[in-house]
Structure formats: C-alpha cells, structure tokens
Amino acid sequence: MLIPLREADGRCGAKAANLGRLLRAGLDVPAGFVIGDAIGDDGWGQEIESALLDLGSRRFAVRSSTFGEDGGQASFAGQPDTTLGATTTAQVVQAVRRTARSGAGPEMIGYAARTGQAAGNVVPVIVQVMVEPEAAGVLFTRHPVSGADQVVIEAAGGLGDKAVDGTVTPQAWTVDGSGITGPGLAEAPVLSSARVLTLGKLGRWIEVIFGVPQDINWAVADQKFWILQTRPITTRPDEAKPDEAKRVSSEPGEVLLRGTPASPGIALGPVRVITELDSFDQFCAGDVLVCRTTSPAWTPLLARATAVVTEIGGMLAHAAILAREFGIPAVLAAPGAMTMLADGQQVVVDGSAGTVTAPTNDERNDEPPNSG
C-alpha cells in the first residue's frame, strides 16, 4: 500500500513521519509517498506506476525512512539506502526493494519493540520527486558548540551531498536574530544574505513545529526552499552496546550513584565516560557526559550532552555553571562515577536530587529506541 507523504505517521518510519508533519504544517517538502513494507506486501507493485505519474516528475529519489547513522547514506546491512535520480518505474521499483532491505535501523527495532511486533528486516521506503538544487546543505537551530540560541547554516553548491559526506568544506553562516556571520570574502557565497535569513526563519519555524532544536537537510531550487529531512539535534541512532563486562548489574530505579545536585532537571541517556582530550571524538550528542572535571575545552561536549556527571567539583564549579547555562541536569562530586558507570549504559540523571539511577520500565519506554 502506498501512503501519501502528507499522511505519513509513526508507522511510516521517523523520516517520513517528520516530513509528513512538515507538509501538514504547510512547508515545502518534495511530493512523494511511503511504502511501509515493500517486501511482505506486494500491493504497491500495481499502484506505483500511476503514483509516479501523479508526482509529475522525470527523476525520483528513493530513501530509507529511518535515519542513518549520520543522516547521510549510511545503512545498517551494508546496502545503500538511498538512490537518487531513478527515472523509470522499473528503476524505482528496484531501488525501493533494495532500500527496503537496507536493514532495520535502530528506530525501527525500537518502534517494533514498543508496539510488540517483531522488528523484521524491512524498512519503510520514501519515494519523492527529485529536487535539482542550486544549493543544498544542513541547518542547526541551536549553535552546536556554544549552545547559543542561533541558527547555524552550512551550504554547498549542487546537491549538497558533498557537504554532508565531508568531501567539500561547506560555507557556513550563523544567524542570530537579524544578524548574520558568514564565510570570508575569499570565495563567492553560495547563498545570498536574503536567502540565509529566509532559511534561518524556516529553521526557527520547524523548531517550533517539533518543539525541540532541529538538525535539518534543505535544498534550494526554483526560488523555493525544500526540506529534505529534519530530526531532533539530540537524538542519534546509537549502535554502541553497553560494555557488559564493566556494567553494574542494576535493578530498575536503583540508585547507582549520589553526588551534589548542581543543575536541575531529569534526563535519560547513554553514558559516555571521557577521560581525556584525545577521546573527545567518542562523545556524541545526546550522551550523558561522565568525567572527572571540566576545563574550557570541554564546553562543546557540555553543549551537546543530555546530562553531566563529574567526580569532583560542586555547586559552584565551572561545570555546574555551564550545565545550568545549557539547561542540562548535573550531578557533581559523585565519587567513582568514571568506574561505576559503563559506556552505553542507560541512566537517569536527576540534577535536582543529585542521583544517577537505572531507568525504570516506564522511563525505558521513553528512551531513545536503540536498546529495545
């Protein structure tokens, strides 16, 4: 069965559900449809030819509706999950089948776990009109380093895939209110100031729609801004498995550690123990930062952390002041935190009570759907 992208919801995979929400909110998303189960359900084979005709395009993009590791072309079973520029019905059908088999991403497994179904290996597939952009790139609605309430835009000419996969250094802008900081004059800008401002407003709008800071893929074509993908900045599909050998055996709700409550709030996330500067690249947005203490070099980590737990310090520590600035819970002066907690272990940090606990079953249901 084909589901119009405008009607996509959670059953269609996170990427399609988010795009559906944007379409319903009146944003420009390339027209398309979703195929929930392209392997087990053959019904779509008869519908697809007329559906492609209805889209009125000559070139189509076929994508997995799950978010890859980095939002790019990653796949979980070694299969490419994106095909750009399919032209004939036969090519689209082939691409749909390939993408459907690209493996169950963590969110599909999590969704299946929450709905009590077997995960299977089939991912929902999105077929969309292919946009031929003049420029494309990414946009963050919160400054990824300082955590400031700014929009950061990266752009490159053409499809923008080179900017995403890192082979071309994109041009970058920061929008703060109506102020713009852009790339130097050494190269011709890919975007005009007016376009940067429009994109900034668009990003803000999308953030309002979802209620949390967003990481957005966009493209500009025919004087129009198209949204190709959006996801919360702090969510990431996590393939890291808890270190079982080191993991503390814990009962749901059990208090694992106590420390000084230093920044209020309660948050759930996977532990990442960072011992030194050289292991910063192991830290991912959404992790619970566990460390001895922090210096200025650690600020970018704090800006992206879900919560922070340190072994030393206290209410007045620099780490506490930064955690409150970023609005994340902090438990400081929790002795043994770096040895008691294991990488990948899900914990609940209560920065008001000063505790680190194992998640209860209820809390687990709300956790990022990667450990389901």
């Binding site: 990414v138 963050f140 400054h143 990824p144 380093v145 300082s146 955590g147 400031a148 309430d149 700014q150 950061v152 835009i153 990266e154 970058a172 990481d215 900045i233 209020p264 030194e276 500067l277 050289d278 910063f280 690249d281 947005a285 001895r292 203490t293 210096s295 200025p296 070099a297 650690w298 600020t299 970018p300 800006a303 992206r304 030393i312 209410m315 007045l316 520590a317 620099h318 506490a320 002041i321 930064l322 409150r324 600035e325 970023f326």
Partner: protein, 199 residues
Amino acid sequence: MSHQTPADVLVLHAVRTLGYGDTAHIAVRVGLAEDEVRDHLLDAQAHGWATYSSYAGERGWSLTEAGRAQGERLLAAELDGVGARAVVEEVYRDFLPLNDVVAAACTAWQLAEMGIGEQTMTLAETIATLQGPATALARVEERLTSHLHRFAGYHHRFTSALTKAGDEPAWITGTDRDSCHRVWFELHEDLIATLGLVR
C-alpha cells in the same frame, strides 16, 4: 621589561584557554593576523599538538593531550626563564578566594533566574558583588603582566562584560559571548596551565 611570549607559544596557549575555537577567534585573542595564526596552528597540528575537528556544523581547533603537555612545558620554561614562578604562585593563592566569589555570584544569579533555591539575588546585587573581583582583577593582572605580557586583557574583558550585564544579563554567565564567567574561567585555566596544576 615585561616578557613577550613568542607567537607560536601564544597561539598554542590560546587554544588551551579558549578550549575550542576557530582560527579567526584565536587570532583575535592573541592579537595577531589570521594568516600567521593559521600557520602556527597547522604547525601545531603537524606536531600532533592541536586537532581541527567539527562538532555538528561547527569547525574549530582544540588541543590534544600531547599539545596540552607541550604547552605546559613551554609555559614552565618561560615562567622559570623570567623568574616569575613565585609571583604567579602567590597570585594564584590570591585568585582562589576571588574565584569563589565569582562562582558563587554566578551560581546565585543563575538560580535566581531559574526561580529556584532560597537566594533571590537581583541583577543589581549580582553586578555589585562582581565589582569586587573586577577591581581586584586589575591588581592581579598588573602583577602578572609586570613579568609576562601575555596575561594582559583579562581585566578589560571582565569589566566590559560586567558593564554590558546591566542591560543584558546574559553577559554574566552566557557561553556564547565573552561573559564574566567565561573570561574568569579562561583566566583560571591560564593560571592552572602556567603553573602546571591539575584541576
């Protein structure tokens, strides 16, 4: 005559106190041309002392553990070379009680802004409290710069932030600007690095 730190050491050290920053930001901090600063950063990268990385959309420089150790060696050699170790140690002892005042004022203000805790520190009270450390910082900086010129600027940056805080409270603890807390945090890191201490 106050000692002028060589540019390559200044640049490496600025990466340490900034923690993370792009070439332009580092150039502003050390007061050198961006091209020159970039050359030093690339040298440091070639030595494995600095790394250029990206966090989500942002790119910038940070130190490696090797770079941190190298920086401390260079600063220690400089410190002993100008015979200022005793003075900086003494300054650091005087700095710590001031640090407590600044951290407490920042914390009280943040909690008041969040509407939690028993304290209800007003903005005016916070600024008045920070005036003490601001004044003391002038003398602290003077003692440091009489031996090492590279310590110049903290007092000016701190008082500038404090002046702006009256209209825009984000200048007290904001992370996206040269706020009072940020300047103070960098000075703390500078002293720790200079003396080779561990936090």
